[in-house]
């Protein structure tokens, strides 16, 4: 027990801070008089009070955190905050079960975007703001997680990413202290979100819709204030704006920060992931457009291009907005889009999946193994940019991919055993593990996850956390070795 006190102490501080998050929906609720403000009052009280009590009880446990504590802290934060996040949902929607509310909250904080709610257009606007504010905060948390915390913990080859700032640039180090780094990243994140809100408003959305969707886009979450998602607006301009910001959010925020600090676009030229990201997306969009035209889904080229481009970018970056029910397309197209969501997003972005940098390294590693068959004695190094990547990192990445695939297989089996059809099960698991949002089959973009049983929803909540915390973080805490002294 004494072991985890320091961790709980920090958690208590996080909780008390988190209570402030409810202020925004509270303000909006009061301003719009949408009748939900009591829910936020209660949420603030309960959350802050819990945090305060926990703080008092754990005061004596204060000490320096070790590696092991880091894992536990991350897991506790990402499972506890959703717990308190359910309060506004449960109080505003009395018919909502706890399972559904927790699923929605986890989907919010992990910026997945899968929803069990319908009638979104008629929800109190403050509640929709809260849903996507969870996305936005989760996105912030992810940025800190992946750029600062996970490299220190050495998860999934992330040590590489710590160093993976564009190199041949003078004074290119991100400020070395974690707090400084985090603040810098949040500043960029907040500023770009501000621009996104303005752009969406200028593009024709109301202020609340603009706020909700900007939160959703920058965190690559995907929840909307409309059942029909972005399709509700039927506006090419808005779709272009969203695509633009989604791509920005899919690029590493450390790159953005460097560009911001250097006041130069050179940072983008040295980011090894960007050409691949844009290239693969570009080719995929053209290919799928052609495929849909051939299959007769669309008759006009620009119509096909419009819907393909938006939905492909949305799914691939793990955002999850939709402008049409792509579950009705010939399955090759949406399955390929889901496949893209496994690796397109950049390594320091708010997106999910294995990340582009790992995909690039895996590709090069496999090629290296092929070459070794021809020249068994040659020493061939896998390189990114100009740097050779040490074997240790390759090793970790290979293991990461293995866990990724094994998790998908195992979770799909579990869902299939529980009675779900294989197609829905598999696409749902992939969508959760990549934190994308809509799956296919029973959980396509025109439907919600409410059709699933409680057991299936808990499995998928677990899957969302697995993906967001990059597997090892969560799994390590579940092993007996972790808890032995």
């Amino acid at each position: 027990m004494s072991q985890i006190l320091p961790v709980l102490h920090i958690l208590s501080k996080v909780l008390m801070l988190y209570a402030l998050a409810f202020l925004l929906p509270l303000a909006i609720s009061l301003g719009l008089a949408d009748g939900a403000h009591l829910a936020y009052d209660e949420a603030i009280l309960v959350t802050f009070f819990s945090g305060a009590v926990l703080w008092l009880f754990t005061r004596r446990g204060r000490r320096e955190l070790q590696t092991r504590d880091g894992f536990l802290l991350v897991v506790l934060i990402w499972t506890t905050l959703p717990l308190y996040s359910t309060i506004p949902l449960l109080l505003t929607l009395p018919d909502l079960s706890f399972t559904h509310a927790y699923f929605e909250a986890v989907s919010g904080l992990t910026a997945t975007g899968a929803t069990v709610l319908s009638g979104l257009d008629d929800l109190p606007p403050s509640l929709n703001v809260w849903r996507t504010e969870m996305h936005w905060i989760g996105g912030m948390g992810v940025i800190v997680l992946v750029v600062a915390v996970l490299p220190l913990l050495g998860v999934g080859g992330r040590q590489l990413f710590k160093a993976e700032t564009p190199t041949p640039m003078k004074d290119s180090k991100l400020t070395p202290r974690m707090a400084e780094t985090a603040k810098g990243l949040w500043l960029v994140y907040a500023i770009v979100t501000g621009f996104c809100i303005l752009a969406l408003w200028a593009g024709g959305m109301g202020w609340i819709d603009a706020l909700v969707h900007a939160f959703s886009v920058m965190s690559l979450g995907g929840m909307s204030s409309r059942d029909a998602s972005l399709g509700y607006f039927d506006s090419v301009l808005l779709e272009l704006i969203v695509m633009g910001f989604a791509l920005i959010a899919a690029i590493s925020f450390s790159t953005h920060f460097l560009a911001f600090r250097m006041k130069s676009l050179a940072a983008y030229r040295f980011d090894a992931e960007i050409p691949w990201l844009l290239g693969v997306l570009g080719v995929s969009i053209l290919g799928i457009t052609g495929y849909l035209l051939l299959q007769g889904v669309y008759v006009e080229f620009f119509e096909a291009l419009r819907y393909t481009a938006f939905n492909t970018i949305s799914v691939a970056t793990t955002l999850g907005f939709s402008t049409t029910d792509f579950n009705a397309w010939p399955y090759f197209a949406p399955l390929f889009m889901l496949f893209l969501s496994s690796f397109i997003a950049g390594s320091g972005s708010t997106g999910g999946g294995i990340k582009m940098l790992r995909a690039m390294l895996l590709y090069k590693q496999v090629y290296r193994e092929l070459i070794k068959l021809v020249h068994p004695k040659a020493a061939v190094h896998t390189k990114v940019g100009q740097q050779a990547v040490p074997n240790k990192i390759i090793y970790a990445i290979l293991a990461f991919l293995f866990i990724y695939v094994a998790s998908i297989i195992i979770l799909s089996f579990i869902l299939a055993a529980s009675g779900l059809d294989v197609f829905t099960a598999f696409t749902a698991v992939v969508a959760m593990v990549n934190n994308t949002g809509p799956g296919l089959g029973l959980v396509g973009p025109a439907s919600t996850y409410a059709v699933l049983t409680d057991f299936q929803l808990w499995v998928l909540s677990f899957a969302m956390l697995l993906g967001r915390l990059e597997f090892f973080t969560l799994l390590v805490v579940l092993t007996p070795v972790f808890w032995r002294k």
């Binding site: 590696t67 090759f332 193994e369 070459i371 390759i394 293995f402 299939a416 070795v481 972790f482």
Partner: protein
């Protein structure tokens, strides 16, 4: 320095010379069905006459043409030879089919032939019960010969080429047994293992005859069992016999064929069962299969597919073992079973078969190493400084090998994903596409839905058929053997 094209000729010609020899020898195997056709007075005589003549001529021609460049084959030639053999032999093996049934397309005939030689067992043919016996014998003979080729491939050739971590498997003989080295030369090793293979085939045929099959059926099915191929002389496969005894015999021999033939040889030579105890894969294969049979039969029975548990156990055991060992016989149309059970059976087909067996998939030893590697990584997170080797059967596995195995598995997954997407794009539904790819890359045989055990692969269009034929080849040659041919490094000096 010779120009690029003549350099390639110098590379390819010696290989073609050896290929000619192989085709020449292969042509003589056509004499067996020819004999059968004569004895049984079936009307396929002319097909085998002509096929034999053409194949013999082709073999001799290639052998003569390549004679000028005859030399010792190097490791790199091995890749090319293996591929040419496994694509060339099916090409000539199509001849009896095409000559006997002129309406059969080359695509379909090639698919059938390569399904035979890779011991996959997916078929595009129906009306098997009415086929001339010689033609049926030819199909099953292809599988039996394919099995022989696989044994050599697995135990001798692929380790030399260093594909997919196979260097480990070359050395992975069952533990501390005196005088346990197999003779190092490929030919000698091959001969000994072929002897085991032939002996077990004969035993299987006798057992099947005693269990109630006719001699012809017994021999054909023994060919298909030991090679873990899965062709049958009946459309309904083993369901035709509706005999628990036959199913039991087949389960035993399928499991035997799914174990390492080196282990069989060692046990035979020492006249003791110790070899099996020392082979780490044996425990893995038998344990996994047994546990799955019990678990899945309960699941299927619970789902109400069979009223009695014993009936469920009978049908699940047979079809699960058949799929897990990548054989591919079916005793019932399990396509109607709950998806979880059929998916689990397909999953087993990826991991269960031993290295050094005639099965397919990743092979049990790679699966075991991967699992231990996964656990090691988890522990590594907590103790980054600890040096934890991956151990199998008491020996530590070198990191290089683990690397190679991981890369192999990544390639395997990427191939499955790509092929599934390609088939989807061509219009096939998700379950059919995915299951067909898995069934072909593991050389198992039946998939689900459109290509399930109650039907065959005839419903696919030509494009899909070629994609799956290629997939069968990829699986059998363990991916890298084929992919290496696509690198520039292979063709340069």
């Amino acid at each position: 320095m010779a120009s690029g094209s003549s350099l390639s000729l110098l590379r390819v010609a010696p290989v073609v010379h050896v290929l000619g020899l192989v085709i020449l020898i292969f042509s003589f195997t056509m004499l067996a069905p020819l004999l059968t056709a004569l004895v049984a007075h079936d009307d396929a005589q002319h097909a085998f006459d002509e096929s034999f003549a053409i194949t013999l001529a082709a073999g001799v021609a290639l052998w003569l043409i390549g004679r000028r460049w005859q030399r010792e084959l190097k490791v790199r030639d091995g890749f090319l030879l293996v591929i040419l053999v496994w694509t060339g032999l099916p090409a000539v093996a199509t001849l009896p089919f095409i000559i006997y049934t002129p309406e059969m397309s080359f695509t379909d005939a090639y698919f059938e032939a390569i399904s035979g030689l890779t011991t996959t067992g997916a078929t595009v043919m129906s009306g098997l019960d009415d086929l001339p016996p010689s033609l049926n014998l030819w199909r099953h003979l292809l599988q039996w010969l394919g099995g022989m080729g696989i044994i050599v491939l697995a135990v001798a050739i692929l380790p030399l080429l260093g594909v997919g971590g196979r260097q480990l498997l070359k050395a992975e003989l069952p533990g501390p047994i005196k005088d346990s080295k197999l003779t190092p030369r490929i030919a000698d090793t091959a001969k000994l293992l072929w002897a085991m293979y032939a002996g077990l085939t004969a035993l299987c045929a006798v057992a099947l005859k005693l269990a109630g099959m006719s001699w012809f059926d017994a021999i054909c099915h023994a060919f298909a069992t030991l090679s873990l191929g899965g062709f049958s002389t009946h459309d309904a496969s083993i369901g035709h016999f509706n005999s628990p005894l036959i199913e039991a015999v087949l389960i035993v021999f399928m499991l035997l064929a799914a174990l390492n033939f080196v282990t069989h040889f060692l046990a035979f030579r020492q006249k003791r069962l110790a070899a099996y105890r020392h082979d780490p894969e044996v425990r893995g294969v038998l344990g996994l299969v047994l546990a799955s049979c019990l678990g899945i039969s309960v699941y299927v029975w619970q789902a109400g597919v069979y009223p009695e548990y014993l009936t469920a156990l009978r049908h699940v055991s047979f079809n699960l073992v058949s799929l897990a060992t990548d054989c591919g016989f079916a005793s019932t149309d399990y396509n109607g079973w709950p998806m979880f059970s059929t998916m689990w059976m397909l999953f087993l087909s990826c991991v269960a078969a031993s290295s050094g067996s005639t099965g397919g998939g990743l092979k049990m030893i790679r699966s075991m190493i991967l699992m231990r590697q996964g656990v090691r990584e988890l522990e590594h997170q907590l103790h980054p400084a600890a040096r934890l080797p991956v151990k199998v059967g008491g020996h530590a596995v070198p990191n290089q090998i683990v690397f190679a195995i991981q890369a192999f598995v990544m390639m395997y997954i990427a191939t499955v994903v790509t092929m599934t997407l390609v088939l989807l794009a061509s219009g096939l539904d998700f379950v059919s596409a995915f299951s067909a790819v898995i069934a072909c890359i593991n050389n198992a045989g039946p998939g689900l839905n459109e290509v399930g055990p109650g039907t065959n692969y005839a419903g696919l269009n030509d494009f899909q058929t070629w994609v799956l034929a290629f997939t069968m080849l990829l699986g059998r040659l363990e991916l890298f053997t084929v992919f290496v041919l696509f690198t520039r490094a292979f063709w340069r000096g």
